[in-house]
Each structure stands twice: as C-alpha cells, then as structure tokens.
C-alpha cells in the first residue's frame, strides 16, 4: 500500500463561524473539510454558543504547507477573539492527490 503523509488539523469553534471558517480554509488551500456538531468547554469559555448551535468541529486533511498557513491564519484572525481550539496530528492517506 502506498500511504502518504499528511496533517489532520482539527478546529473546534463556535457554530456561528461555520460559513467564515469554511471560506477561509478553502482560500488557504484546503481541498476538503468535514464538519461535525459538538459542544464543550475550555479555559476561555466565554461563549455565545448556548443560543446559536454550540460548537462545530472542523477537520481538514492537508499537506504541511497548507497546515502552516492555516495555523498562522487562525493565530491572527480567530484565536484572539473567538472560542476556538485547534490541534494537529499526523495522518496517512491513500490517493494523496486529493489532500
């Protein structure tokens, strides 16, 4: 089997941000994304979510370059203002041209 290395970036954020986040991630080079509804709490925990649909968990499988851009972008545009968590892990994929 011919598995290739990629990064899985997981972003948990307020559901109201969905449209924006998807637009931004796509612009930054993510070729796809998967979203699930979630709820939770964190150290900041100053949220609006109760009324507007809790959190979303966005997962993107990307290469290192896009990962770098995404993290940088989040650091500037999301982390300071929004309830937002993010972590990265190493994954392997077949069909690497898709990711």
């Amino acid at each position: 089997m011919n598995l290739k290395q990629r990064k899985l970036v997981t972003i948990v954020a307020e559901a109201a941000l969905e449209q924006r986040l998807v637009r931004d991630l796509t612009t930054l080079g993510a070729k796809g994304y998967t979203i699930t509804s979630a709820h939770g709490a964190g150290p900041r925990n100053q949220r609006n979510g109760d009324l507007e649909g809790g959190n979303i968990k966005v997962e993107i499988v990307v290469n290192n370059e896009v990962m770098g851009k995404v993290l940088e972008f989040l650091e500037t545009n999301y982390f300071p203002h929004y309830a937002c968590s993010c972590w990265v892990s190493a994954v392997e994929v077949l069909r690497d041209e898709r990711y």
């Binding site: 307020e14 924006r20 609006n48 009324l51 809790g54 203002h81």
Partner: protein, 323 residues
C-alpha cells in the same frame, strides 16, 4: 386590577414553563431540548409570526400604518443611542461593550413580543395586526446603530459591507421578513389552510420553547453575580424607560391600547437571537458574558413577568388620558 393581570400572566403556561426551565437548571437536572429541536421551534415561531403579521398587514390600509412605521423607525435608532448613553452613566464598560449591549436593546425579542400578544389576547384587548411589521422593522436598525457606536471604540476598521450582509441574511431575518411577504401574498384565504399549524398550535409550541429558554437563561444566572450592580440596574431600569417611550410613541402615532402596549414591549425587549449572532461576528471583541447576561439573563425574564403587564397598564392609562 394590575395585580390580577400580572397574576394571570404569571400563571400562563408559557411563563410557567420558563420557570420550570430555570428550576431544572437550579436542581442540576440534565433536561435540555436537543439542539435540532430548538432550531426547529425557532424556525416555526419566526416563520409563523412573520406569516401572521403578513396576513394582518394585507388587511391594513397604508393610511393607518405609515405613522406607526415612522414611529418604530425612530425608536429603532433612538433606543440604542439611549442605551449607549445610559450604560455610560451606570457602568464602567468600554465603548465596544456598550455598543454591543446597545445593539441588543435596540433590537427586539420575538418571544417577549409573542408573550405580549398572548397576554393581550387573554385580556381580550384588540391588537392591530400590523404590529408584526413593526417587529420586523425594529429588528435591524438597532443592531446597526449599536455596531456603529461600538466601532468608535475599536482599534481597527470594520468591514461594514460584510457585516451588513451577515445581519440582513441571518436566519431570523430571512424567516421573519420572508414570512411577512408570504403572509401578504397568500392573504386570508391562503392562510386558512395553514392556520391550524401556525396559529392554533402556537401557544403550545411557545410553551415548549420557553422551557428551553428557561434552561438557557438559568445557565446565565452565575454570570449575573459577576456582571456588576450597574449592569443589573440597567437591565432592569432601561426596559421600563424605553418601554414607556414605546407606549407613548404608539399612542402618538394613532395606535390603540393593544398596539401601543406591543410597541412598548418591543422597545423594552432586548434581542437574544438576531443581535448576539450579528454582534458575535462583527464585534468579536465584545464579551457575550456581558450582553447575553443582560439581555437574556435579566431583561428577558423581567419583561416576561413584570414588564409586559406594567406596559399594558401604562398603555391603558395613557388611553384614559385621551392620548
């Protein structure tokens, strides 16, 4: 008499359901409406209110509504300005947070509005059908004025085009305005077919919705303590002030007891659906812990229990004065 009226309000199923929701939080029950159901109920309420308003509007003449509409527009701009000033006096909040709160009080609360309608219906007081049009009109300007006030306190420039688009295409606005148009177009005849669903069921569905609102508001209670006495005072006092202004405007623009009372309630109420969504996106620097606690944790239950009967009484009083 006022007491009797207040009691009848307090013992109505929707208000009791709200109390049950609060209680469920207090005793740490895991009771919660599923997110999808909460969404569905708000869609139902917004669309239903819109349609009913539209049908009523299709029965109104331009002559009777143009003055109230202008009155509502003025209130929509004045209320957030007043709120912004008032917060300056009563709290130590910065301009960003004051603007955010002002946006909420400048806009309106659908559920408070609905509770007022149900209350007035139970009192057998006539309400002009076009009040829902006023609701729709009051929904947006206050948010925009609030955002503009807040933007003066920001260290950055605001993308107004984007923000306006987000405000205007938000779910709640599309449903409310869309419902209004739908109601106008379909008229009394078309509405007849869907009345059992959007009309007869309404109070029951609202009862379920208020159960959830009670739970959500209950979860805000811990925040009230940290809100500071100034904000609490504002959240209790401002609705009465702004509400009275609304009732007065109603009478001055030719509305009856019912319509004026509703306009008062609209002005007194603070948004917790459209405004938070808009403010969160356009003004992330503002703290939801402040604006949601004020609008949802304090003003909403206050209006539900105290504000509505008080403003209705005031409206009766003003009518008695020949206004």
């Amino acid at each position: 008499m006022l007491w009797e009226v207040a009691l009848q309000n307090l013992t109505s199923p929707p208000v009791l359901a709200f109390a049950l929701g609060l209680l469920a939080v207090l005793i740490k029950s895991d009771l919660r409406l599923p997110e999808a159901v909460y969404q569905a109920l708000s869609i139902y309420l917004l669309l239903g209110i819109g349609i009913k308003g539209g049908v009523a509007l299709s029965q109104s003449s331009f002559d009777e509504i143009w003055l109230p509409i202008i009155g509502a527009l003025i209130l929509g701009i004045l209320t957030p300005l007043l709120a912004f000033k008032g917060l300056g006096f009563m709290t130590k909040l910065d301009a960003v947070n004051r603007g955010a709160v002002a946006a909420h009080y400048g806009s309106t609360s659908l559920v408070t509005f609905t509770a007022a309608l149900i209350f007035l219906e139970a009192q057998k007081i006539f309400v002009e059908g076009y009040v829902t049009t006023l609701l729709a009109i009051l929904e947006i300007p206050g948010i925009i004025v609030g955002l503009m006030l807040a933007s003066k306190g920001l260290g950055r420039s605001v993308n107004w085009g984007e923000s306006l688009r987000e405000v205007l295409t938000a779910r709640s606005i599309v449903l409310l305005a869309g419902g209004l148009v739908l109601g106008v177009v379909t008229g009394v005849n078309g509405y007849e077919r869907i009345e059992p669903f959007f009309g007869t069921m309404f109070t029951g569905v609202l009862t379920l919705f208020l159960l959830e609102m009670g739970i959500v508001a209950g979860r805000r209670i811990p925040d009230i303590k940290s809100a500071g006495i100034g904000l609490v005072g504002f959240s209790l006092g401002f609705p009465l002030l702004a509400g009275s202004l609304g009732v007065l405007t109603g009478h001055l623009t030719g509305m009856g007891i019912g319509g004026s009372a509703v306009l008062g309630v609209l002005t007194a109420s603070a948004s917790y659906i459209a405004a938070p969504a808009a403010v969160r996106l356009a003004l992330p620097e503002a703290s939801p812990g402040i604006y949601l606690t004020a609008s949802l944790g304090i003003t909403f239950p206050f209006n539900l229990i105290v504000g509505i009967p008080l403003l209705v009484s005031l409206s009766g009083l003003l009518e008695g004065l020949g206004l």
